[in-house]
């Protein structure tokens, strides 16, 4: 279970997230939804121990991420940003990650096959398309066979087939009792993928609950989103 409580983070006097609290239940796909700049990445980076909050806590199974021993066995993460040095081969990138958490080498090839990169394992990452890079990131998240997946905009850069693959994969992952928290600024994707949603706008939680409850009485999730965030942004 993921518990975020009273999390606050400022950048130069402006609050990127402002006293937000929510929990992510086990065995579900929870969508973390909000327009660009709402504070999704900031929240997830704090949850994963990359950035320091100014106040509040973000715990995974009752502990800060920093205190997890071999964390990749508990949480797999795909963030907007962290990647591989371009001239490194895909297989080498995953190998060092695996070694750091005592994950057996055969698992590297398993996850490469799983995300459909088995055939290009020995290529340098700089030769990868955006979508392939995203798949490599997913492969890294899956290395430790984790109970929890935290994915920041995993659909970005994927082709329609890749999007379908991610959606099916995440549904299957949650169906086995595991937990997914994935962010998106794309309404349509969430409607097909998430059980629960946490909606964030301007650094504050605008709504939190089961997808069907939140959409009740509205023609579509898109309308809910407009109503909750006041966002008319053309970017989505």
């Amino acid at each position: 279970m993921i518990e975020v409580a009273h999390l606050t983070k400022h950048y130069g006097g402006r609050a990127a997230v402002d006293d937000i609290s929510f929990t992510v239940p086990r065995g579900r796909v929870t969508g973390f939804l909000g327009p660009n700049g709402a504070g999704k990445s900031t929240t997830l980076r704090i949850l994963l121990g990359l950035d320091r909050p100014d106040a509040g806590t973000a715990l995974i199974d009752g502990k800060p991420y920093r205190d997890l021993r071999y964390p990749l066995h508990t949480v797999g993460a795909l963030l907007d940003g962290p990647g591989s040095v371009p001239e490194r081969r895909a297989v080498d990138h995953l190998t060092w990650i695996a070694q750091s958490n005592r994950i057996p080498r055969r698992r590297v090839h398993e996850v490469l096959d799983l995300v459909g990169l088995g055939g290009v394992a020995k290529q340098q990452v700089k030769k990868f398309s955006l979508g392939m890079g995203q798949r490599l990131g997913l492969a890294g998240a899956l290395l430790g066979d984790p109970e929890i997946l935290v994915l920041d905009e995993p659909i970005n850069g994927l082709d329609p087939e890749g999007i379908r693959w991610v959606r099916t994969f995440l549904r299957g992952f949650a169906a086995r009792g595991r937990t997914v928290l994935l962010s998106s600024h794309l309404m349509t994707e969430m409607a097909d993928t998430a059980d629960e949603v946490v909606v964030i706008a301007r650094g504050r939680i605008a709504a939190h609950g089961r997808l069907d409850q939140i959409t009740a009485g509205h023609p579509s999730l898109e309308h809910v989103f407009f109503a909750l965030t006041g966002d008319q942004g053309p970017e989505w």
Binding site: L48, Y65, P82, R88, W96, S100, R102
Partner: protein, 267 residues
Amino acid sequence: MVSALLAAVRAELTKIFTLRSTWVVTGLILALHLLISVANLRLTTEAVANITPDEHIELFAGESRPARPALVDFMISMSFQMCLFLPTLAAVLAGQEFRAHQLGQSILAVPRRGVLIIAKTVAAAAYLLLVSLAIAGISTTFMYSAVQGWDPGVLTSAHALLGQSRFLTFAVLWALVGYALTLISRRTLIGIIATVALTAVTMTQVLAVSVPAVDALFPLSAGRNLLLNPEDSRLTAGRAHALVVLLLWPTFTTAVAGLLLNRRDVR
């Protein structure tokens, strides 16, 4: 804790060995050293052939010195001059974390900053030791070729072995300063520039002439004080002093790098 550290060290070694720029920079340094050695070989061999019956050698025109220590000192100074490039290699090793935001991935894998910084430093030190051994190996091979017709035993004398181990100690500690400065500045180029500046302090000899006590506090000066012979170079402190300075620099800079890694957001 120990097993987590070992796992992290192993991952760091893989990062180093699977990075193309590691091989390019290492290759350039060793190739340059080989080139300089080959270029020096003829004159040195001639000097050895002209060693006087009372075992004096003239390695540099007009300077006659006892042959055995002079040859060993020359071999060590050949290795020493290549150390100018080791911090650049170290900066490249450290700087990979700031390319494509790899550091984010590293922190996800090893979130405890203390473990990560120790693992990184141990792995980098191990690799730098390997390169330093290769440098020492080339210098030794060069000197062996020069003295084989006279007395190869000069290379296995206590003086020679002590000099070699002093060189290895200096090479790794000095390069680690470049490593830590790159982690602090989060830019390979700044790490390189900072060590070039440190190098310039020593090489220009400005401080060595005006305030030797201050000069002796700089890492490359300490390396010179540890390795070179007072007859060949202007030394500004004794060997014990030099060793302490050489230990303090990487310790202090690495501690700062660890502290900053702990306090800053990962970028």
